[in-house]
Symmetry: C2
Amino acid sequence: MKVLHTADWHIGKKLYEYDLYAEQVAAFEQIRQIARQKKVDAVVIAGDLYDRSVPSEEAVSVLKQMLVKLNIEDQLPLLAISGNHDSARRLGVGDEWFEHNQYFLKTELGIDAKGRRTLEPVELGNCQFFLVPYFNPKASRTYFEDDNISTMAQAMAKVVAECESYFKPGLAHILVGHCFVAGSSHEDSEVSSTVGGLDEVPASLFKNFDYVALGHLHNHQALSADNARYAGSPVKFSLSELTNQKGVYIYDTETNDREFVPLKDPTPMVSLTGSLDELCQPAKYNEVADQAFVFVNLTDRQVIANLVEKLRACYPRLVHIERQNGLEGIVQTPSVELLKEANSPLKMTAAFFEQTQGLTLSAAQRDYLAQLLAEIEEE
Amino acid sequence: MKVLHTADWHIGKKLYEYDLYAEQVAAFEQIRQIARQKKVDAVVIAGDLYDRSVPSEEAVSVLKQMLVKLNIEDQLPLLAISGNHDSARRLGVGDEWFEHNQYFLKTELGIDAKGRRTLEPVELGNCQFFLVPYFNPKASRTYFEDDNISTMAQAMAKVVAECESYFKPGLAHILVGHCFVAGSSHEDSEVSSTVGGLDEVPASLFKNFDYVALGHLHNHQALSADNARYAGSPVKFSLSELTNQKGVYIYDTETNDREFVPLKDPTPMVSLTGSLDELCQPAKYNEVADQAFVFVNLTDRQVIANLVEKLRACYPRLVHIERQNGLEGIVQTPSVELLKEANSPLKMTAAFFEQTQGLTLSAAQRDYLAQLLAEIEEE
């Protein structure tokens, strides 16, 4: 049996102000093609299907189209779990009905309407799939009726023990999980992962599985273990992933081979360093595709009027500007202590404004900001 | 064939600060029992399953449990549409999979993954069900490829014409819709219905259907038409529904009978008038059940310290207090013009505070309010 392993789709994610739907749909269409070419028997999605617990209507619609295409049009069995970015309850809304079409989705540790425990495996072909949604160690106490669980390692040891109790000999055993395995390296875009400490799970826990299809980390090389892989995200979500090769894994239960199949970058991502003058030379900007996402590391130190407009004239999808050498005449080191104390976005922004501009927000500015923040939260 | 017709569940709705989940679940369990006792063959839910376009996780979970029970445990075919309170995209997230278990859900006018138009009927038993989700007349222009549609009556005439084009003789024709039919009476809790004018649909449009199962208005007596009924909400959502009898309709396609089956009030709702002294007499409050929702119409005019606490000691689920005779010494008529000008909840609350208290919000109060509003919006 051949299994395609992907994860961390984060539908709805933005790269600064840019929507990534076009990139996500393009990557998805490549994944579909790979599934067809490699004649896979099932597709595993190891969590973080959405980028936010309350996805926008557009994100809901885009993800649904993808799942309809894979599962209903292409008739591919799907095995999916929720990640830490998904709301288990929102993602799991149709799960009781999905199985009729071999779409198996697990979002919470618990007992379903048919009296089955979450960790009872799904059997497909010669394979037992153990679908372990992202969970909070404390939430696992109810499932295991054990109040002593406090770390993810303890909880995962319980999870693995229950999974192994269902092992049938002669079948391949695949665990699908969304967690941080100790010793993995991480990226800037994995904003919500608590790296190190209480959330770490030792790789050795999973030693009895033939394959561990992981989600959570966005680089497919984040972990080097004999039997476990992070699929990585199909799209680059931050500058730190600039040189990251995106792709999917194909695991073959007959041969125990795992093959990494790369995805083409739908949109190039570029980081440029130089002064405004240098960057605005035609020889420089003509080398960069118009649709490329561009990060600029500016060497100039002076305040430049209409800087963004000037750079955008050369690089239409300018994403972000860093001042490599800082800015003249501006306080460079906002007090971290003060930022820590601020406990609301409103206070934090006000504090930042005061520290960088040396000015206090006016009542009108404060009102406008509060309204803006309320609108953002509402979204 | 016997069809149970319900609508306007509004899962997640609150009565002032009180959640209504317990009442909604209790009403649902009665509906389930009625379905069993009357041996119905299908259940129609005519829109507004949720109360908000972005339902809370709890609302998502409660509605899902209800649908799982009816459709998966009781094996009852479900025919449902979205209403104006639902987000079509959010509610419709699993619709492509639901049909496997005879759960038919339509949320948008359009063409589905199988190439079918929304208005193609669902055939069950001796019946054609036409599921017409709530829609915006402008949105229907794409579906009908007709840019001249501007009112709901025009759009609905097109809808009906398309439905009738699929009519098979010898079968019963049931339309399930969520709209305001001209001549209906309305309630306070139907906050988002634009009553009268552009949103009205003449009842005569539906004359060729055997039964029109409507949702939108919360009183089952809102419309008197030969072949059309509003099911009404299963739970009382406002004081104006105090004497409203809640229930469901059972439509029998063989006999063309429609029977209204009442639901018991899970929680009494009471309106009391009197002075604080009168209302706090044991003879008075002992007549009211502890769990009753109580609206108080207070005859006192003076400011009373700890008024809410005093009334709650006698009526634990006090919902709302009106001052029948107004309040002494307080500006009674905040300028409507000023309130209209205020274009944010923050400004509006600040203006209200200024007009009633004669004081301006301090910076700290303003901060706290902004934070609070942001939290509310986030919910």
